[in-house]
Structure formats: C-alpha cells, structure tokens
C-alpha cells in the first residue's frame, strides 16, 4: 500500500509554500494539495495593487508554474472542498466523497472576508476582495467615469482605493470609526494616509453607520447611511476584516479560539495535524509568548517553514519578527512588530514630506513596533531592534543626524 504522506488543505500562499518547502527539504513521500479555488497557489498581495491596475500578468501572480506540481510529485486537487477530517482513520473526506489519507495533515485554510449583517449584501456589484476571482470582478467594474464605494477603511480598502484612482475611478471610503486603519495603525499614520488619499481625490465619510445597500433588479446602486443619506456608486467593496476558516478544525475537535491554536512548530492540539497562515492563532515569543492571529504573507511563510521543518526532521527555523507591508500610490509602508505594551511613540523624520517612521517603545524603552513610510532604514533597523529586545535612547531615535545604523549599534 502506498504511503499516505502529507495532505495540505488550502492552496493559498501558506499551503503552496509548505508543499514547495517540503520538497526543498528533501521530503520524499507523497504530497496532496487540496484547494477550493480553481487556480493553483498564487500570491494574494498583488490583487489589490499591481493585479488590480493591470500591471501584473497571470504568470507573475502564480507562486510556481503549473508544471512544478507534476514535476515535484505534488497532487493538486483544485476546485475541491475538504468536507471533514476523520482523525481516527487519518483521512480528509472531500466533497463528493473521495478520501485523502494522511500521515501528517497541514491545514492552510486561510481566512474569509468578514460578513457584516447588512441588508443588500447579496446584490450584484457588492464585492469582497480575497481571491483572484474577486479582483477580476472588481477590475471589470472600475475605470474612468466609474464610482466605487469602499465600506471599511482598512488596508485592503485603502489599497483598492489607490488602485481605483490610478484607473481613473472615483472613490468614496465609508468608515464607522473616526479614522482609517483604526484597529491596525497609530493615529499619526491614520492621519497621514487620510491626507494622502484626499490629495489623490479620495473622499471619506467617517463615523458613519451603514444601514443597507439598496438597488433595483438585483443590482446594488447606493449605500444607505444613518439619516437616510444615499451614496451612489457602480461598485461596492466591503473590506471590514477577516474571519479565520477554522470550522474544519473545530468540527474535528482541534483546539480553536478565533483561529486554530498552534505551537511554534505550527502543530495543533493533534500532533499529526499542523495549521499555518491566516487560519491560526500562534504564540509570539518576542511578546512574552502570548497568542495572536497574524494575517500576513510573512507569517504564512514563517509557519510554512516551521511545519515543513518539523515534518522533514530539520531543526526549527529561527524566530522572525512579524512584519507587514503595503503599497499605495508612491508610498511604501513597512511595519515591523506589534505595539504590545507600548507606552510611548517617537516620530523620526518628516511626516509632511512623506518620509518618516513611528517607533513604539515600552516602559523599558525597548522598541516593540515600527511603522515606516518610505523609510527602509528605520524599518530594517527597527526590525532588528525588536528582535533583539534592546533598549534605545528615545532622544537618539528622534535625532535624524544620528543614522539608524548608529542607533541600532
């Protein structure tokens, strides 16, 4: 009987990378990759940026060429839903009843766009942005003379807004909070992004409760705000966060808590099952081991490395500082770390000239996080400092005449 090998559920960035790394690490048993989407693993970050603007082709988007999977002995089951995990039989049951037996299972099920209870959400022209199909639908709806309403001023919404402006479309961003990026960035950064987007012609409506999306003939035409204000548009992008796809794991009795809970090998509460990427809640060694859910490509890659190393019998990879990036217009935002326990913020550089960084220090003057706009040295040095847990002198950090190399030395 053939060996069962590794089954990976989820063909996103995390799942695709895990398969590739297992082969790089010399894992020789069968690998099966099951994904709901019709496409082989591809990169999601460009969907709201270069892909949306039509600046990237399909070949660039794909993680690996189609031929890779055959050549590497990775069995691809695309457009296939995994229905349940039979832990006793060590097998994944797919829609239609086919069964994939596993020695080791990796769950890389990702996250889905959070749905808010909003009348009209199912009308045509109301979109989310998670998949290539979503991005293609959005791209078709954008162009000169078109108008997009974005519900939610998060990263996806802002990146899509910048791309839509580049395509000549009008953009209105509606945000419940008084500022954009309210949950994920500091106020200085929020203010900066709002100003920058405004200067590029984006309109904002803050503190606004969306009551419904209304339209006719099954097609959305406007957003109805509290007080009966209508905001009309051709397309509506809802970007209000993500929900981890943990149902498969939870139904199988794996420990979940707003994400599949894993350890630093990316192992779940079942030693034969790993989970990686957006679907997980993982320990953060730099931040006292607390558990956190990270939605980012670097995290997906780090956990793919952890799982592939454990499965292939390699030493665990060195811990990484979590980080994140976003491109909007000519801005490069790079964020390292998380502002846990931060009590002080230091601004280095000049906000007005769009070249600055915000450092977040804890009570011992250790850098916990840095948000850098067009400031790679601040990001890179900040990332090092966060990893080292070294205290810095706030005055030196503020002083642009002292280079980041010297500050970090």
């Amino acid at each position: 009987m053939p060996k069962a090998g590794v089954v990976i559920v989820g063909s996103g960035h995390a799942g695709g990378t895990a398969a590739a790394l297992l082969r790089q690490y010399g894992y020789a048993e069968p690998i099966v990759l099951i994904g709901e989407e019709p496409l082989a693993p591809y990169q999601r970050p460009p969907l709201s940026k270069a892909w949306l603007k039509g600046e990237a082709d399909a070949e660039t988007l794909m993680l690996k060429p189609e031929s890779f999977y055959d050549e590497s002995g990775v069995g691809l089951h695309l457009s296939t839903r995994a229905e349940r995990i039979d832990r006793d039989a060590k097998a994944v049951v797919m829609a239609g009843g086919a069964v994939a037996p596993y020695e080791t299972l990796i769950l890389a099920t990702g996250a889905r766009a959070r749905r808010i209870p909003l009348p009209g959400l199912d009308l045509d022209c109301v979109l989310a942005l998670r998949t290539a199909a979503d991005a293609d639908a959005l791209k078709r709806a954008l162009g000169p003379g078109k108008r997009m309403v974005v519900i939610g001023g998060g990263y996806i919404g802002l990146e899509a807004a910048a791309s839509a402006r580049a395509l000549g479309a009008e953009v209105v961003v509606i945000e419940r909070e008084p500022r954009v990026l309210a949950r994920v960035a500091c106020e200085t950064l929020s203010d900066f992004f709002q100003d920058y987007h405004r200067r590029h012609g984006v309109h904002f409506i803050f503190g606004a409760g969306v009551e419904a999306i209304v339209g006719g003939d099954g097609r959305a035409a406007a957003v109805k705000l509290a007080g009966d204000t209508l905001v009309e548009a051709d397309v509506f992008l809802v970007g209000v966060g993500a929900t981890p796809n943990q149902e498969l794991a939870a139904d199988a009795g794996l420990h979940c808590n707003d994400g599949i809970v894993v350890d630093l090998d990316a192992r779940t509460s079942d030693p034969a099952i790993f989970a990686i990427g957006d679907c997980t809640r993982r320990p953060m060694p730099i931040y006292g081991g607390r558990l956190h859910r990270l939605e980012s490509v670097p995290n997906a890659l780090e956990q793919a490395k952890q799982a592939a190393s454990a499965i292939a019998g390699r030493p665990a990879p060195a811990g990484e500082v979590p980080w994140f990036w976003s491109d909007q217009y000519d801005l490069k935002l790079q964020i390292a770390g998380l502002p846990f326990d931060a009590v002080e913020t230091i601004i280095r550089g000049d906000v007005a000239s769009a070249k600055f960084a915000v450092f977040h220090l804890d009570a011992q003057n250790r850098v916990r996080a840095v948000e850098a706009i067009n400031a790679p040295p601040e990001f890179m040095a900040g990332r090092l400092l966060i990893g080292q847990g070294k205290a810095v002198a706030p005055d030196r950090l503020r002083d642009m005449s002292i280079s980041m190399k010297e500050v970090a030395a």
């Binding site: 890659l301 060195a318 980080w323 990036w325 790679p376």
Partner: protein
Amino acid sequence: MAKITYIAHDGSSRTLDVKSGLTVMEGAVKNNVPGIDADCGGACACATCHVYVDEAWVDKVGKPSAMEESMLDFAEGVQANSRLSCQIKVTDDLDGLVVTTPESQH
C-alpha cells in the same frame, strides 16, 4: 531569455533558463531554487532575496537604487557585490549570469 546559475551556500548549483522580463528572484522562486525567500514577492520591502553577484557580472547588472541600498544596508553578510534579486530584471544581456545565495535570508 537568459541562462542564470544560482549557487547555494553549500556550493550546489542550478542553471536555469529565465525569461526576459522576470526578475532574478522570480527565476529562483518559480523553479523552487532554495536560498531565496522573497517574503514580499518582489516589492523591495523585505531584503529576503539577497544574492551575491559574480564579480564578472557586477558592472553589467548595475548598481542598486537608493531604496534597495538602504534595505541592503541592514541585511546580514552584505558585501560590495550584494543585490536584492527582486530588483534585477532579466534581459538577454544577462545570459550566463552567476549569483550566489547567502547562508540565511533572516
């Protein structure tokens, strides 16, 4: 199209045909060449696609931009011939290029 040789830290090497227009990083990642992580997929945001350009090719490949240089400044094991491979576009002129990957990208 250009033939590019990727030499790993342990001395093992692979030579691949990489299409013009792709980057040296994409040539490696798409062919599952180990040693180049490219966390950001080519946005010049992470410095995890660091390579050493063979001395004979340094002039032809050219110098890094200011942005790339400031990322490289903080990468591990940087040398005069260091480049971020996501910032090197493959052209027919680079046929025969040889790059070496560092021991670690993190």
